[in-house]
Symmetry: C2
Subunit: 382 residues, 2 copies
């Protein structure tokens, strides 16, 4: 491990594998510290996790956070961030950072004809200016930003997509990965993860895995899942994908962040997750609880002076009542959104910590059953 | 002092008076702690200082915060707050709280014919429902809220107002004060402050002072200033008012919170201030600096990696650059508003702390000159 650290800035140390499932408990070592896995990564799109301060994120136990290459490229510009000393210094976050490639946003802004072999033509969502993103450009921006983990430029294949398109797109993602690796200079400080695609076709998924992992990268993302497909298909793809990834590398299931999906993916050996869900639903006045989502804003019981969850140790629950949070949300007070967002982020970070404990104790399946029994379908309730 | 504490829940201990001016350095003792004066009180209209957490307010050195009776009466209701254990418990603020009477908001919602001897008829700004606020009702609501200092129900006379109106209104404020005192039951835990009015007429001001202070209350507010009058008139009224107030009681200049006005009022012996300015301009992307207001949002120098103020010890300035804050504001990120609001609140709290030090050292005039030399006219600059 120590030898490996000399050449690979980020690596995953597996400490225990649950005896019954393939769930893994480990440590992700990065230039900005070592963090427990499985982990949930809060999303800080524009160099800030919406509503949170860096010290609040530290307090709630966040290890690695995710930031978005496309957004920072457009505003304030990656050269400005580089001049500030990199993203860690710019936003004053001294733990881990992972940046995506910008591909996800750029594909959503582009028309099919704008996607060419060299890259993707699109217009900025801010000023409408013409832009062009390529694998080389994505790596260059991510090197400017200076995250610990950077992601290869890929196409996140939408759902549904026919098999021919998925095959062509996945093959291009592999070719783009090769260009990313070629362009990547800061291999001693930034770990490049490749991304597996393949649509909803197990054969294409396995082919993509074979191609992507052939490059022996420090870690791998699983892309193109949780993009609108039915739950059964998601579960099938997880089961058909994860076992084919190299056992000794971190596995990052991109954009996934509902408790049920995360727990199922951990079962198959996924180590990392990210999702905007906790801050997004927090800003809409909803919170995650063991019994599913709760719309605090619409709570009928305005006189409920208990916390969101009795046994939750987060700053919100240790201090504030549902009645107070409901009042803040009804009065459109910023602090209400801070409190719901804080709780939701803590909920998912803590869920992964509890899953990790269960893995060490070889009772991961039991843990999932207990959790899902209370969670049910996770539907909103007020 | 100790004897007095037994019967008066809030009292002011003067530790030093500046030898040249009448500026006072002291301590305000309350059931929730003792706080240095002169003091700036952050405004927490709806049971939250906009954007801030209680622990951030503590960290920046806030002692007493102000909350608004009208707003809390309308939403969530003062009976709900009482059921939560009072405002301190509801919003988890363990230091001092002062509530206004609700008069200011109610008068702004009422037509002249709606103001009668018994009280003020108006319609709720939330649901348009008919409401009636009286001195007795204001005290009852404030007793439910449970602040350390509660304010008498008065009319804040608008500017301009003719002398006959100002005289009639001030006389009614005195009659209403008598009813407030009569209605006030929790005299052992909540200090009732009377409010001096009199418009912009020195004779009426002095008459109001004579009437209000005859009740020997634990403290006095000075109302109806900084309501749109020219600066010279404000300064004249401060000079014509403050010296007539009892020397041994705390003096609270209501709604004043620009550095120049605060420093001038401290010179004449004012001890307490409140204003929405720091959080309001913070939410508009402006910050207070020793050189006047700075519109961070419009900063041309997007690559200014220094703090808002080099020698400021606040959380914002100790950690974040103008370039980062500007980015957050341009990107409409909540954390930007948190950082500007934090700095602005700290700026005014710290200004009062520095004024206090200067008073102890008998160099208050010098301190004001030095400050105003840099502050200039305090105009916005970007």
């Amino acid at each position: 491990m120590i030898d490996k650290a000399k050449t690979v800035p980020v690596w995953h140390e597996i400490l225990h594998i649950d005896k019954e499932t393939g769930a893994r408990a480990g440590l992700l070592h990065t230039p900005h510290g070592t963090f427990p896995t499985p982990m949930f990564m809060p999303v800080g799109t524009q160099a800030t996790v919406k509503g949170m301060s860096p010290r609040e994120l530290e307090e709630m136990g966040a290890g690695v956070i995710l930031s978005n290459t496309y957004h920072l490229w457009m505003r304030p510009g990656s050269d400005l961030v580089a001049e500030a000393g990199g993203l860690h210094e710019f936003m004053r976050w001294n733990r881990g950072i992972l940046t995506d490639s910008g591909g996800f946003q750029v594909f959503s802004l582009a028309k099919p004809k704008d996607i060419v072999e060299d890259g993707v033509h699109f217009r900025s969502h801010i000023d409408g200016s013409k832009q062009f993103l390529t694998p080389e450009k994505s790596i260059s921006i991510q090197e400017n930003l200076g995250a610990d983990v950077i992601m290869a430029f890929d196409e996140c294949i939408p759902y549904p997509a026919d098999e021919a398109y998925a095959a062509r797109s996945s093959a291009r993602t592999t070719r783009w990965l090769e260009r990313c690796i070629e362009a990547h200079g800061t291999t001693d400080t930034q770990a490049l993860f490749g991304i597996v695609q393949g649509g909803m076709y197990p054969k294409l998924r396995r082919q993509s895995i074979a191609e992507i992992t052939a490059f022996d990268l420090p870690g791998y993302g699983i892309g193109g899942l949780s993009v609108g497909e039915p739950a059964e298909l998601f579960y099938e793809m997880v089961a058909e994908t994860i076992p084919y990834l190299p056992a000794d590398k971190p596995r990052y299931l991109m954009g996934v962040g509902t408790p049920d999906y995360m727990l199922e993916a951990v079962r198959f050996g996924v180590d990392m997750f990210d999702c905007v869900l906790p801050t997004r639903i927090g800003r809409n006045g909803s919170v995650l609880t063991k019994g599913g989502r709760l719309i605090v804003r619409d709570l009928k019981a305005s006189r409920d002076f208990g916390p969101i969850e009795d046994d939750c140790q987060c700053y919100t629950c240790r201090n504030f009542s549902k009645a107070y949070i409901r009042h803040l949300l009804k009065a459109d007070e910023m602090f209400g959104l801070r409190l719901t967002s804080y709780h939701n982020l803590y909920f998912l970070i803590d869920l992964m910590n509890k899953a990790r404990e269960a893995i060490f104790e070889d009772r991961y399946s039991e843990f999932c059953l207990e959790f899902m029994d209370k969670w049910g379908d996770g539907r909103n309730r007020a």
